[in-house]
């Protein structure tokens, strides 16, 4: 059996989405900006797709939703534009991000910092959530941008974007949120909060890879992302990715339609998995369920290094994920586990299971069975549960 529980990394493309994209490869391949029938026959589908995308986040027509190549591009664009317009010009000197943003925000913020600006990294509390009051303490009239994600990719923790938006409005500071993990999991309505820029990406909600977007509120225009032939209203030049945009539109429509299902059926399966895993002794979950996206669990199995767990899961055909040391090439502990101040011995034990509307009960039952066996096997190997003679002075804890 093959079970895919890594939906926060990417998702299966909805077959209906794929079907809508297909005509735009071999049949309707025209460049939408040309002056002939090959071009104009792409327009109805593009227009419909853009309407669905606008509707999906409840964006008013006067605002812009610029289609990019990925969420990383959208995030880079916002931060770098602000740097070029506000910081390099000397108008402002400061940006604020949370310490657990996606690398596309953190790495860009670090670059801006290296160019001489001040960057504040807001901490998360022991539930893995940013406290909006911590923003109030650091925001000033020199702050050029606040960027805080809507939902965290590792834990699924929902951040207080409504409150943060209010504080930004109070100080007149633009607010950007990376909503990549929120679309299709919780309602995202750009008119329900004060937000100026919002990032999302099609492949996280059963659309194609290579299609991201940036919502830009009217009056908060940015320096173009790519200069050139003035496509996307001059914001982002480059021939339109016709099948990609069509795919994102259909995927957005399907995700909004499935939102109730996500918050009921998917949540129930997630809870079923979580309840079963928490029955295993010495397991810990970060962030209370009510404060998380309905599809995500970040769980620690004491005494089991994350990559070892992935190894045993993979042997049984199950895909999950870990942000911890051995799995990634940089040997770092899971950044969220470190940031929430989890016990040090748990920093390398976190494993993430992320479900989707395609996950079945049978798959979850199989996963529970496999995880239990893996825990038994790996703890039998683990030094954390190993015999030591009386009076043995363990070096395992004393090391740190």
């Amino acid at each position: 059996m093959r079970v895919y529980l890594d939906n926060n990394a990417t998702t299966i493309v909805d077959p209906h989405v794929f079907a809508e994209m297909e005509p735009f490869f071999v049949q309707k391949y025209g460049n939408p900006n040309s002056l002939h029938a090959f071009a104009s026959e792409t327009h109805p589908a593009l227009k419909t797709a853009m309407e669905k995308i606008y509707a999906g986040i409840h964006a008013p027509k006067e605002d812009s939703v610029v289609i990019t190549s990925c969420a990383t591009e959208s995030n880079n664009w916002v931060l770098k534009s602000i740097y070029f317009e506000q910081i390099i010009t000397g108008k402002k000197n400061h940006i604020v991000v949370s310490e657990v943003e996606h690398p596309s925000v953190i790495a860009t913020a670090k670059w801006i910092e290296s160019m001489g600006a001040k960057v504040t990294y807001l901490p998360i509390n022991n539930e893995g959530i940013v406290d909006p009051e911590s923003l109030r303490e650091v925001i000033t009239d020199k702050t050029a941008l606040v960027s805080v994600m809507w939902a965290n990719n590792e834990t699924g923790a929902l951040f207080p974007v409504y409150e943060i938006g209010e504080i930004c409005a109070e100080f007149g500071v633009p607010f950007h949120t990376d909503a990549v993990q929120a679309i299709g999991k919780v309602p995202v309505d750009v008119q329900a909060l004060n937000v100026d820029y919002l990032t999302f990406s099609a492949h996280k909600f059963h659309g194609p890879k290579g299609v991201g977007a940036l919502y830009i509120k009217k009056g908060r225009e940015l320096t173009p992302c790519l200069h050139g032939g003035s496509q996307m209203g001059g914001y982002r030049s480059g021939t339109l990715n016709v099948p990609g945009i069509v795919g994102m539109g259909k995927a957005m429509e399907a995700a909004i339609d499935a939102l109730d299902f996500e918050m009921t059926e998917v949540r129930e399966l997630r809870d079923m998995l979580e309840d079963a895993l928490l029955e295993i002794p010495d397991t810990f979950v970060v962030t209370p369920r009510s404060k998380r996206t309905p599809n995500t669990i970040l769980i620690s199995f004491r005494g089991i290094e994350g990559e070892s767990m992935l190894w045993d899961l993979n042997r049984a055909g199950i895909a999950a994920s870990t942000g911890s040391a051995c799995a990634s090439e940089d040997l770092e502990a899971n950044s969220v586990m470190e940031a929430i101040g989890a016990a040090e011995d748990l920093a390398h034990t976190a494993v993430r299971f992320s479900l989707s509307r395609y996950t079945t009960q049978e798959e979850i039952e199989y996963t529970i069975e496999v995880v239990k066996k893996a825990v038994e096997r790996l703890r039998s190997i683990s030094s954390s549960y190993a015999y030591a003679p009386e009076g043995h002075e363990s070096g395992l804890e004393a090391q740190h």
């Binding site: 005494g303 089991i304 290094e305 990559e307 070892s308 190894w311 993979n314 042997r315 911890s324 040391a325 051995c326 799995a327 090439e329 940089d330 040997l331 770092e332 502990a333 040090e344 011995d345 748990l346 920093a347 390398h348 034990t349 039998s380 190997i381 683990s382 030094s383 954390s384 549960y385 190993a386 015999y387 030591a388 003679p389 043995h392 363990s394 070096g395 395992l396 804890e397 090391q399 740190h400």
Partner: protein, 324 residues
């Protein structure tokens, strides 16, 4: 950069089949209790290295015969990824039947080589090398305990990387054994520099007495000095004796490379230097024959004399070559 760096790969694809098999079914995983050791008439040694907070930890169990110092049984328990478990398993296997003194000579490289499928293909990708270094460290810790040496004085001279608890002597040793030239390599082998990064170079959030860049510079200078000494034809007999051990090995290796190795390789063999020790007026060079040489009759007669004569002529007349 370039083709291989663009789309990335799965580190698991770079594991040897042996690593995979050992992760799936570690052979020496387990414990030795005091009762079991007693039944064998052995002394139980339990040594720990690493920490869960660093991502790897290993506990090594030895049952050692107190009369012969032979390790009768060797088992491990490990918190870590697949390569950490496979390395610990291999390390425990290599200890069996050896005396404690012999076991201390097992290096991380021996552990890694023992896990290879093909002699020239590494068993694990570079960023996983630190797993075998840990296996090497825990042996030293167990040996220190057996010999009743104070563990602190045996292991911790100066800790250069606090996060990964990597000592100055370990770093110096690993840099020289593996001929490391970059900070990234040190991090791959020892984990030093992987965490807070304060120990890499000055300017981090914590001030240090010695940084990884200093150690690399020190080794680089040593290598240059060794080359300069060999290059100096007027150096004479006395100078070889005054070299550091690393310089001596480099000098001997250079002479072998230039005069002997080609001859051995043509016959399908090779040799390596194991140790150089002063023994009274003699300088004893311990070597090991590899490949075809190891079984060849001439390796203890003609070839050996040839090697010894060339080293005597080029480096020091008091040299003796001892094959092991």
């Amino acid at each position: 950069m370039g083709f291989d760096s663009l789309i990335g790969g799965t580190i698991w694809d770079e594991y040897s089949n042996k690593v995979t098999e050992l992760m799936n079914n570690p052979k020496n995983m387990g414990e030795i209790t005091e009762e079991q050791a007693e039944a064998m008439g052995a002394k139980l040694i339990v040594a720990d290295f690493g920490a869960e907070s660093c991502g790897d930890a290993v506990r090594l169990y030895w049952a050692v015969d107190p009369k012969t110092d032979v390790i009768l049984e060797s088992k491990f328990k490990s918190f870590g990824c697949g390569t950490a478990i496979a390395s610990s398993d291999t390390m425990a296997e290599l200890c069996k039947g050896k005396t404690v003194d012999e076991a201390v000579k097992i290096t991380n490289i021996d552990v890694e080589k023992a896990m290879r499928d093909e002699p020239d293909t590494p068993a694990v990708p570079p960023q996983k090398m630190h797993c075998s270094v840990m296996a090497y460290d825990v042996i030293k810790k167990a040996a220190a305990q057996y010999k009743g040496v104070d563990m602190e004085s045996f292991e911790e001279d100066i800790i250069v990387c606090e996060c990964a608890r990597v000592s100055l002597s370990t770093l110096r040793e690993v840099i020289r054994l593996n001929d490391l030239t970059t900070v990234e390599q040190i991090t791959d082998y020892t984990k030093a520099g992987a965490f807070c990064k304060s120990c890499i170079k000055p300017g981090g959030h914590e001030e240090k007495d010695i940084y990884l860049v200093d150690l690399l510079e020190e080794y680089e200078k040593e290598k240059m000095a060794a080359v300069a000494t060999i290059g100096n034809e007027n150096g004479g007999a006395g100078s070889f004796k005054e070299m550091t051990i690393v310089q001596k090995i480099k000098a001997v290796d250079k002479v072998i490379d230039e005069n002997i190795r080609q001859m051995l390789v043509m016959d399908g063999g090779d040799m390596e230097i194991l140790d150089i020790k002063e023994n009274g007026e003699h300088i004893d060079i311990y070597i090991r024959y590899l490949g075809a040489c190891s079984g060849c009759a001439s390796s203890s007669t003609g070839t050996l004399f040839a090697i010894e004569n060339i080293l005597k002529e080029k480096l020091d007349p008091n040299i003796r070559v001892l094959p092991i």
